[in-house]
Amino acid sequence: MSKQGRDRLPRITRRESLKWFGMVLAGNALTPYPADAAASVVVGDDHWPMLKLAPVTAPGYGQDPDLVAMTAGPWPRTLSAGELDIVRLVAGILVPREGDVPSAAELQVEDVVDEWVSAPYEAQQRDRVPIVSLLIWLDAESERRFDQRFVDATDAQRVAIIDDIAWLDAQEIYRRPAQAFDRLRSVIVAAFYCTPEGSADLGYLGGKAIAGDYPGPTAEALRHLAGVLASLGLEAWVDPAAG
């Protein structure tokens, strides 16, 4: 831990850590792995929980799923209602509403996060431990800073925590939460842009059948390209297909 980090973060007192320990138990009471998770909680200097979750053993969708009919993984979901609340709040901070474009929270991306961390596949299981740990950490951090759980904190308080873990070069003390946040962010952001609203916000204009030949770049896009070529000192290539 860097000196700066140690100075900034008051050490967790025994009382606080016990309180947090109890909270973890309560928070996980509805999930299938509470006893196991609780048994393996370790409090480090950065109070990062060391979870050892019972592995998800549900079957995957197999190598011949119905590609047309199945739209979500068939495995049981594992996040508790409390954890989903935290994910929803984080989603709202990560991708907030902008004008007419809804926030990720309004688009229920927490369902994708739940599907993701509950999936029986190796890559998703690798994401599960840091993501679930992060949800626990966010609550503990909120308790530590503001003496209330993440869901009860103010928007500004929640943003203050997220701001500390939103970059991979976060202070040493926030490294593990920042790495976990990076994984959670990638699922939430992708889930948002995969919705029709997110896709439109990104500016994806495909996915529509076109009769006749492919129209190619618009005049505006070609004008922009001409500027790019000029700025790079490149001569335009003549596309035989543009005829």
């Binding site: 995957g60 190598q63 011949d64 799923p65 590609l67 739209t71 993984g73 068939p74 901070i93 990560l94 991708v95 902008e98 994708v112 599907e115 999936a119 596949y121 190796e122 998703q124 701001d163 939103a166 970059w167 962010r185 990638s186 952001v189 992708a190 889930a191 842009y193 995969c194 919705t195 896709s199 990104l202 500016g203 994806y204 204009l205 495909g206 996915g207 529509k208 059948a209 076109i210 009769a211 030949d213 492919y214 190619g216 770049p217 618009t218 896009a221 922009h224 390209l225 790019v228 070529l229 790079l232 000192g233 490149l234 001569e235 335009a236 290539w237 596309d239 035989p240 297909a241 543009a242």
Partner: protein, 559 residues
């Protein structure tokens, strides 16, 4: 009727098997096709307009669906349930299979480049590998016929590495997209010519097949038949003759050969009952894919043929080749925030960079003997599980960054020729059987210096292209770290190679086994070399030519 007394038993319904069945049935011969996989109907089973949001895990690849949820592969990928393969100690090899009617043609990339004159006589030129038993001129009319039947879009440009098709054969190619035009301009500055990609995708109607409507990823399959797959083209056409019977769930294990070197029966496991059955025909065509056909021949060993049948040369399973693969990508600042438009096109490369170094190689200026081409990853892709990956921060600033960088990345994928070498081959692992009781292949693999030097050259070229576009290329990995695993590019060929002598090849120029009077191979096993141009168009061209020869032999009563 065809099922009871077929003229020909064809094993496999993918690129090679379907082409053989098409040609044979058009010529009036009865064909029984044995296909290990299940029946598959792209018209009803293809997720066409589904988006990533309609898939589990946003469509991300998993051990069940390696190339993403919607990829058309059935019961396959890098592993097939209950049907393992092994690798020798110190070797890494990946073997992509699917268990479905149409095989891997349901989800292949459809890149369809002709081999050029350089490619057929490599050994004569540089003393490496093996020559083919014919030259480009012999194959040119067959390429024309195959392209016309399959439906290939592209353009004749006179590029030295891309022989022209006869006039009217190619369908018009789609226009290039903005990042492709930028790459082509950057390549031009480096003295390298880009060219329209050739792809087995219709841009004009053909038979019952509609032209591409530029909207849905071809790897999912194409229910309208625009992207070539045998299940919407060759197989329905062959069925229309009334001479083709297809038996799916029929996993061929071996062929029986009599004392005269004639195949008398094809044995297979009925995957539904688990029982072994057998059929016979006047001739047998193996097209189960290069490694699977070699496996069948090796597993057909008996007292008379302890090393497997058709193997007096000892070459069955040898000369296993894949394409080399490596890649490099970067963000191009000049493309950040560029104007939006629909860049779906036919959802793969509209242009690419063909090999430009034949002259340099002839002059001895390069430290690797065979060429490569560069495929391109770019564009305003449909949102997916990786959209926004790597962007940090949160809130409106994060959204702005995702929007700005959308469509600003480019990625180059090298696909190169490898030479056959003594360390790359497959044999049978007698200790491991699949769930049908059939001994499995074991792969041996080691890249040679030729390939590593080629990849090093490719990485340097990709870096130069990125920098010419004003991008910052990542630090170059070593070629050993960059080169993909054997088999990973899924262009495996050479295991039953053709040649002019029975001493060092398995088949003659018609794909007919030297040692057997009525057994032909029409998959990539027959390749004498593996030029960098993706193998399947040539595979189908050879299958057409060689099935045409077989049809003639059957008509004459010679087979």
């Amino acid at each position: 009727m065809a099922a009871e007394h077929p003229d020909v038993v064809v094993v496999g319904s993918g690129a090679g098997g379907a082409m053989a069945a098409y040609v044979l049935t058009q010529a009036g011969h009865r064909v029984l096709m044995l296909e290990a996989g299940r029946d598959y109907d792209p018209k009803t089973e293809t997720p066409m307009f589904q988006t990533s949001a309609d898939a589990p895990l946003l469509g991300a690849g998993t051990p069940d669906k390696n190339f993403g949820y919607f990829d058309a592969t059935v019961d396959g990928g890098w592993q097939v349930p209950g049907e393992p393969y092994t690798t020798a100690e110190g070797s890494e090899f990946l073997w992509w299979r699917s268990r479905m009617l149409g095989g891997r043609t349901n989800h292949w990339g459809r890149y369809s480049l002709r081999f050029s004159e350089h490619d057929f006589k490599g050994y004569s030129r540089d003393g490496l590998g093996a020559d083919w038993p014919f030259d480009y001129e012999e194959l040119a009319p067959w390429y024309d016929r195959t392209e016309a039947l399959v439906g290939v879009c592209g353009a004749n440009t006179g590029h030295p590495d891309m022989p022209d098709s006869s006039p009217g054969v190619l369908q018009p190619p789609p226009k290039a997209r903005v990042p492709e035009l930028l790459i082509a301009a950057a390549a031009q500055k480096l003295g390298i010519a880009a060219a329209p990609m050739h792809r087995a995708v219709l841009t004009r109607p053909l038979d019952d097949r509609a032209p591409c409507f530029w909207a849905t990823p071809c790897g999912h399959g194409c229910s309208i038949g625009a992207a070539f797959q045998t299940t919407t083209s060759l197989l329905p056409l062959a069925r229309k003759t009334g001479l083709l019977t297809i038996r799916t769930d029929a996993m061929v294990s071996a062929v029986d050969v009599d004392a005269h070197g004639k195949v008398t029966a094809v044995r297979y496991v009925n995957r539904k009952t688990g029982k072994t059955e057998s059929v016979s025909g006047r001739a047998v065509v193996l097209a189960a894919s290069a490694c699977e056909s070699a496996r069948i021949l090796l597993n057909s060993r008996n007292e008379r043929f302890p090393n497997g049948v058709a193997n007096s040369s000892g070459q069955v399973g040898r000369n296993l080749m894949d394409s080399t693969g490596a890649g490099l990508g970067a963000m191009i600042p000049a493309l950040v925030g560029r104007p939006r438009y629909n860049e779906d096109g036919h959802t793969a490369n509209h242009i690419f960079i063909p090999w430009w170094g034949h002259e340099q190689q002839a002059k001895g200026e390069l430290d690797f003997p065979r060429g490569y081409h560069l495929e391109i990853g770019s564009g305003f892709d449909a949102p997916n599980a990786w959209t926004g990956a790597g962007v940090q921060g949160y809130g409106t600033a994060l959204k702005r960054r995702v929007r700005e960088t959308y469509g600003a990345g480019v990625y180059f994928a090298l696909r190169g020729e490898m030479l056959p070498n003594r360390d790359c081959y497959m044999d049978i692992d007698d200790d491991v059987r699949d769930k049908w009781g059939i001994p499995v292949p074991r792969f041996h693999w080691r890249w040679a210096e030729h390939e590593l030097n080629q990849v090093a050259h490719g990485l340097t070229t990709m870096k130069a292209l990125i920098e010419t576009m004003g991008g910052e290329a990542p630090a170059l990995p070593s070629p050993e770290a960059a080169i993909r695993k054997g088999g990973e590019i899924i262009h495996e060929v050479g295991t039953t190679r053709m040649g002019t002598s029975r001493k060092d090849s398995v088949t003659d120029q018609w794909g007919k086994a030297w040692d057997l009077s009525n057994l032909y191979v029409t998959d990539g096993g027959v390749f004498a070399s593996n030029p960098h141009k993706n193998c399947t168009l040539t595979l189908m061209t050879l299958a057409m030519r060689n099935a045409d020869y077989l049809a003639g032999e059957l008509t004459k009563g010679a087979a």
